[in-house]
Symmetry: C2
């Protein structure tokens, strides 16, 4: 992976966040500590904490408070992964066994709940009611999106609007909340908060689209996840949706057939990839991500130049430059 | 059930809480609304909201804020029940089918998460960072207690200390938090907050002990739950713990044998009841609950007489007067 130069400005603050993520609440069962350390120690890009800290810098927020907010969003993200992995039956996350492989479903449910509570506790320590409110609303949006998806079923490629709603709930909502943490804690005006919120939201949309493109285009070795996983699991993401809408009637039928099957094979994937290539769907999807990033950057225009603004602009470029 | 006269003082405020519990967050999936209405409409005693509202009255808190806190604790309680029922495989709660009977485990996990988030959202609307902090800490205590219990296993009768830790986490912690909501929102001194917190905690201990006694002594028809359920499920509660410690060596062995079995029968229950009766264990446990309630009431001594104080004293007496 590229070096994440945009985090230079907040390197010390990110260190403080790491400490917070590794603090154990008094009286907490040993197993929870092991689980949280395992998950949090697994790394990940810390994109969300960096976003909180940079937006805090930009808006002159108290950095000690911002560190709590940054730790809270990362912990919230971790909690959602615990329950998601249980629901999906995922075996590996961040290159390590998931909790549900090691523990019973019951302990996994409760550990996820505990980590939600711990995230809320960290958020409360940031000392802002408005932040707490946004924090809980964001978790509602995330859960609501997943429930929506479950009731919709997975057997038809969704349309673009449905896809966008889904990735907003899944990814962009938390990045939006991360980016608006700074102005909230800095007591910025509503228009500033909205600008950074939109920046985060558009960044999040781009981030998820790139992830979904990489699922088709990355090589197994560099990516750390199984290529083609979304398709094999019956998830229709943007490349497939674009390909579907451009496809011939015959290919449309074929794609529909893939999604009606209880399982999709490697051979199905190879056939789908031909349709995707014919439609130039990976490039079109990537272009969509670039548009989102451009919109994100536009929302920083009103801020005077500063190292924090530069870092946020670089962060936006990084999101669409991710390769394996 | 007796009429809950101690709620007279806060009848209107409880009405406001009911309204809040039935509000639907914009954009929320229809199924969540149905689930929340089903659970919240199921009634229950609204003991926790009453506690929040009465402590708010006692401490001169803004009642509109207190209504949010009251709705938040009831919603938090509801959320814990959703995941508990899933984990226990419970089929009936408050006389109605549980969510996990109607839905897949995945949707049930996510709906529980959503309701946690909604509870946090309601708590945030009470507009107090201190309350949010206590709210999230309480959820941590509840989850931690359940995880502890799972790792401890259920095959040996625990000692009294372990039992008390368990019921503190399970029940008393949330009642403590409910009772301290009033002083927190009213900006009371730390000593006042602590007094009401201890009142709530002792009340909660008594409440759970009475519940555990009723599990042995109630008749099926009036109780609404299956009598002897705790024992049949391998949960050792206070009556059994007391009986175990007073029992002859032979009876001790018998009780241990019961807990080593994968399942306990009605015949086992009949034999256990003889040991419990011989030890006078239901009365001793009931006496313990009365002691908790007396301690609870002592912590209200410093408050001048008022209708709110009277109601809180009555509420304490009600907890140990519960019969079927």
């Amino acid at each position: 992976m590229k070096e994440l130069f945009f985090t230079d400005l907040v390197r010390d603050d990110l260190g403080r966040v790491e400490d917070l993520l590794r603090e154990h609440y008094p009286g907490q069962h040993e197993a929870i500590g092991v689980a949280v350390d395992h998950l949090v120690g697994g790394g990940g890009k810390r994109l969300r904490p960096a976003l909180v800290l940079l937006s805090a810098y930009l808006c002159g927020a108290e950095m000690a408070q911002a560190a709590f907010a940054a730790a809270a969003v990362e912990m919230l993200h971790t909690a959602t992964l615990i329950h998601d992995d249980l629901i999906d039956g995922a075996l590996v996350r961040r290159g390590m066994e998931t909790l549900n492989v090691q523990w019973s479903p019951s302990v996994t449910v409760l550990t996820g709940d505990y980590v939600f509570a711990y995230a809320a506790y960290l958020a409360a320590r940031a000392n802002s009611v408005q932040l707490m409110r946004r924090f809980s609303e964001t978790l509602m949006v995330i859960c609501n999106g997943e429930i929506q998806q479950m009731f919709n079923g997975r057997h038809d490629p969704p349309d673009r609007q449905e896809y966008e709603q889904r990735i907003y709930a899944k990814t962009a909502s938390l990045l939006a909340m991360s980016a608006e943490s700074g102005p909230i804690l800095g007591g910025a005006e509503e228009s500033t908060t909205m600008a950074l919120r939109t920046y985060g939201e558009q960044l999040g949309m781009a981030f998820q689209i790139v992830d979904d493109v990489l699922d088709y285009s990355a090589t197994d070795a560099g990516w750390g996840k199984q290529v083609g996983k979304d398709f094999l699991e019956g998830k229709a993401t943007l490349p497939l949706i674009i390909a579907f809408h451009c496809a011939s009637a015959k290919d449309k039928l074929l794609i529909k057939k893939f999604f009606k099957k209880p399982e999709r094979t490697g051979e199905d994937y190879t056939r789908l990839m031909k349709i995707i290539k014919r439609a130039n769907a990976l490039e079109t999807a990537g272009q969509r991500a670039v548009e989102n990033v451009e919109t994100a950057k536009k929302h920083l225009k009103a801020f005077p130049d500063s190292p924090a603004k530069k870092a946020l602009l670089d962060l936006a470029d990084y999101v669409v430059s991710r390769t394996v």
